[in-house]
């Protein structure tokens, strides 16, 4: 059943792709003429078909930026960055968009080992780490069996060493995969869409306002309460409750 759905979606999507490319090109044309609002509708039509790409998000964000709409612009740049984390254009334009934000939140820089660790882990997606783990398992088995069946001592020694290395590599990549997966589970960024939003110390309106956030600020979702309230954390470590409709999760 599941397979048929997959196959069906595959065919449908391949059908869509041609249509979407046309929409994308049309959107680009509108953008080039300066009809940013029209370009936005065209780009969003593509999104509605369930297909996306980093370029689509990038162009959409650009169009929003041109209309001086901070929050959606940043939102789609972040989306684009999720799909292609190392794109220079996205980084560049995101910094332009971030210039428009009002809040200045300092991020606590990571140092030393944890920074190194994170940069290594973030170099691949968890799926990629999983593939690497599987590959190293295969390598290990091959090396181990050839070690087992070979007769010359030198060969045996070399093969044993390689098999152990690949086993270690497999354990490492698997850990990384799990770690990366855990990071992604924990990483629930959202963008503040409300022009101004009070961050409360408790999830109700009576409680004290801890601080204020403005449009375009990136926050981390920690938990939510009764759908109306979401607990968020800022990069500088501050936490508080925000009305759920004021933010949009990435």
């Amino acid at each position: 059943m599941k397979k048929t759905i997959y196959i069906l979606t595959f065919f449908l999507s391949s059908l869509c792709i041609a249509q979407n490319s046309a929409l994308f090109d049309k959107g680009n044309a509108s953008y080039n003429e300066g009809n940013f609002q029209e370009a936005i509708t065209l780009y969003e039509n593509v999104l509605n078909t369930g297909m996306h790409s980093s370029e689509l998000y990038f162009n959409l964000a650009n169009a929003y930026y041109k209309l001086n709409r901070v929050a959606p612009s940043i939102y789609y740049y972040e989306k684009a960055q999720q799909l292609s984390p190392n794109d220079k254009d996205i980084k560049n334009n995101l910094s332009f968009a971030n210039n428009m934000t009002i809040d200045d939140i300092e991020s606590i820089p990571e140092i030393g080992f944890s920074k190194l660790f994170k940069s290594v882990i973030n170099s691949f997606s968890f799926d990629m780490w999983a593939v690497l783990a599987v590959a190293s398992v295969l390598l290990f088995v091959i090396f181990f069996l050839s070690y087992y069946f070979s007769y010359s001592t030198n060969k045996k020694r070399l093969l044993f060493l390689s098999s152990i290395t690949s086993l270690c590599f497999m354990v490492l990549t698997l850990t990384f995969a799990f770690q990366k997966y855990a990071y992604e589970q924990k990483d629930n960024p959202a963008i503040v869409f409300a022009q101004e939003s009070d961050i409360k110390s408790e999830p109700n309106l009576r409680s004290e306002t801890a601080f204020e956030l403005h449009e375009g600020t990136k926050v981390q979702i920690i938990e939510s309460y009764k759908k109306n309230w979401t607990k968020i954390k800022l990069t500088d470590g501050k936490t508080g409750w925000i009305a759920t409709q004021d933010i949009k999760a990435l």
Binding site: F58, N93, S95, F96, D127, H214
Partner: protein, 606 residues
Amino acid sequence: MILILGAINDNFKMKSIKYIIIFIIALTTSAVFAQEEVVFEAKVSKKKLGINERFRIDFIMNKDGDNFNPPSFENFTIVGGPSQAINNSWINGVKSFSKTYSYFLAPKKRGKFTITQSSIEINGETYKTLPIKIQITAAVDKPKDPNDPNYIASQNIHLIAEVSKANPYLNEAITVVYKLYISPNTGVETWRELDNPRYNDFWSQNINMKGLKLINSTYKGEDYRYVILRKTVLYPQKTGKLIIEPLTLDVKVQVPTNRRNFFGERQMSIVNRTVAAGNRTINVKPLPEQGKPIDFTGAVGDFNFKVTTNKNELKATEALQAKIQVSGKGNLKLFKLPKLTLPSSLEVYEPEHNEKVSTNLSGMQGNISDSYTIVPSFQGNYPIPSVTFSYFDLTTESYKTIVSKELIVNVTDGPMNGDSNSNKDKAKVSNEKSEVMSISHFASFKTNTNFVAVETTNFFKSKLFWSVLLFPFLAIPLAIFVRRKKDERDGDVVGNRIRKANKLARKYLSEAKKSFGDKETFYNALERALHNYLKSKLSIVTIEFSKDKIQELLNKKTVNNTTVVEFNELLESCELARYTPFSNVEMQQDYDKASRVISALDKQIR
């Protein structure tokens, strides 16, 4: 005609001549009829007096009598008296006589009292006076002495504070005007302020008066003149009942006296008089809570609000002025201007506050503004978000909110803000190093793309992942097991041979088997296979190939005779098949035979 008016109170001397003339006429007429009638009456100096005052009662008769019996004066104490006074006068030949008993009385308590009758016997007849009602009131500040210049001054000089509105809203402007009323027959030389009112709970401003102007007016129905001494604008800063403290003046007043100078003009005596305006209570209403905007900072009046910038486009590190301005009428100095919230990436300096406010009787007027100096360090578009300003409109008695337009400042030229998350210092350092990123302008749209489905399935943690990850481990024991089995079989010699022969037969006969059913090719292949087998086994060349030669060779190799015969039979049938029809069954038999022979030969040939 001379009048002796000893019995009449001296205080009345000052009353105008008119009264005296009337009095004389009255006296003369009474003198005419004096001979006939006996008059005995009681007269009091005041019928209404304060408890701390005194009064005089006179019992006057025009014929001498005996046995004067005064009333009891129950509620009064006799301060002085009785004193007798006898008046004899001859006017135009008519003799008049009067005898007076006088008492000075002080009241004991407040209330209305009656002085009972007194009696006297004149010519054998008893005469009685009428009872007199006296009202005693609360203590009077000062026993009013009508001839006292101070008293006169107090009656003729009044300081009044006029308040424009007794129940204003909080922060609504009210004015207090101090007027000094002066009656026409008195004059004021100078004054000085003894006590300036401190308007606690008010924001106040005095309006300077340019010169004093005497204006004719009325005060409590009488003709008066007044001077406006001072105007003050007040903005109540607290709700509830607030008291405006009195203004106190020390006034030098000219009071007319009874004395006249040589030329018959009245002499004026100069009196220092302290006048106070009296406390005024104002009930300040709070602003309504209903519909009060969150950003309301207390502005009350009628205002305009705008946010402006002096440039819309500039280069980085150039300065820009953004101005928040409120203009209009109201408590301009008494509320805070809304703050400008700006993108964090802009450098903003403390705003400069400007006030251009003039105060007149209707309140403050003008404008106040905050000027922000902004210096952008990086290029880009910077929004100046809209600012809201709320005030309470007194004419409609409702809150109004003005929202300014959102402005965009375009910084066209300058360095890029490198990493969005890096702090400014870091960015500045990179500026100094003039490290310009490869793209220092806003990148345009991208033209090519590959769409992928938004919904993706993860490989990690899927069933496939786990099976692919763990299956190779299972392969290790499996491989080892397979290897063991193989070794075992290698150890088994007989079995191996059989297997080997079968394998050989399969190898050589595979071609024949392929062409099974086609007689011609089958037997050709079979023959070739048998020859090939022997060639490889016995290492001979085809040319030497004959039946006899084969038999000889095989015998030499100590091959069983039956096998040799069978081999030859096979070769024969191969030759025979070229000329005779062969059935499939026979072909199968020959194939089986061939494989049997080959394996037998393989066993026997060493």
